[in-house]
Symmetry: C2
Subunit: 221 residues, 2 copies
């Protein structure tokens, strides 16, 4: 009985890893769609989200079932409760990547990112990808990772978001209302992707140490 | 033992109800802050969110503990798994109300909602409040409620969102980039509040019937 339970728990952990890889691919493709006006990449993200949603439904049900049927304690309890929350974060990241891709698709064949704000958005896309990559490494290695670096990335993402508003609300913004609205929404989606990736990092720390990180970098609602 | 468990489960259900009331108040106050340029209402929402976050952390932990320790089955299992998800939706609604309040506060003493788009935003605020109220009634009565009415409200919210873009991206939009960006973000926040409220409604149907509603009105990622 316990062997079967242990096996199911291992499968859950492996599948969360795989879901994280799928989400990282979605985020990378969304960024490509956006920065390169790549329609195929956009369509791949949009059509691939149904798969991510079913991964989420499946993993969520399996975790809650294991919780209810196996009365796990200690490390396994932490793993399961943290995994339930992680899957929700991963599903939201997939949805946010779709929102990014849809804006890219709407503006095709033009780019949704005007030159004046391109360096900012490029950097925010890179941060989002890097943070997701850090979350994936943390999950793969199941070891305390450099949470401080993740927090620094997140602060930089916040600063880029503030800078976006300075750029689009400046008197000399030449690209019109639609482009400004696109950037306001894109910036929010990319910032939220980074938020969720940082939360996943904190869940990994919790699994490993039993403690959630404290401090202002971590208290993301 | 089982009496204590039954008691804890009842307390969880009562507390989810109370958290839903708190979130409804936050949404109502955020709308007041926005539509009436009411600074005190905005500040109340913003400062009150920490309380909502701690309600969420507490309820989430209690549900997962009951799941792990009591091996619930049937109706109680459904109640607990649905409640875990509901609390996450409620916490997000609180955060979204804060985002609405912060935009209202930023533009004070002016209103963040120009006249040309005011009927639209007023209606979307009302829908958000009404849908949250329907979710609260559904939770209070623990009975199958009129899911179709909730779905119609949600469709109307989607239509209002589309109309917002028509208004702010029109050639004759006279209010400038900042106001357009505000409306784009506000519309998203209010739409997401409605999304989460509909999800809560679907959780209630699941608790009562054991089934999640199907159909395009319900498959919100």
């Amino acid at each position: 009985m316990r062997d079967s339970y242990r096996h199911k728990l291992t499968e859950v952990v492996d599948d969360v890893l795989e879901m994280t890889r799928l989400v990282r691919t979605a985020v990378q493709r969304a960024n490509t769609a956006l920065l390169d006006a790549d329609l195929a990449a956009a369509e791949a993200v949009i059509s691939g989200d149904a798969v991510l949603d079913s991964w989420y439904d499946d993993l969520d049900a399996r975790c809650l079932t294991l919780l209810a049927r196996e009365s796990p304690v200690a490390g396994e309890l932490r793993t399961l409760t943290a995994t339930v929350r992680m899957c929700a974060d991963l599903a939201r990241m997939g949805d946010l990547a779709v929102h990014v891709a849809k804006i890219a698709r709407m503006r095709y064949p033009a780019s949704a990112v005007p030159d004046t704000v391109r360096p900012n958005i490029e950097r925010l896309c890179q941060i989002a990808e890097d943070i997701v990559g850090m979350a994936l490494s943390a999950l793969e290695q199941r070891d305390e990772f450099d949470a401080r670096m993740m927090a620094e990335y997140h602060e930089e993402a916040d600063a880029l978001r503030a800078q976006q508003f300075d750029i689009i609300l400046a008197d000399d913004w030449p690209h019109g209302v639609q482009a400004a609205v696109d950037i306001a929404l894109l910036g929010r989606y990319l910032e939220r992707i980074a938020d969720h990736a940082v939360l996943i990092g904190s869940r990994v720390i919790y699994i490993v140490t039993g403690l959630y990180p404290k401090g202002e970098q971590w208290t993301i609602a």
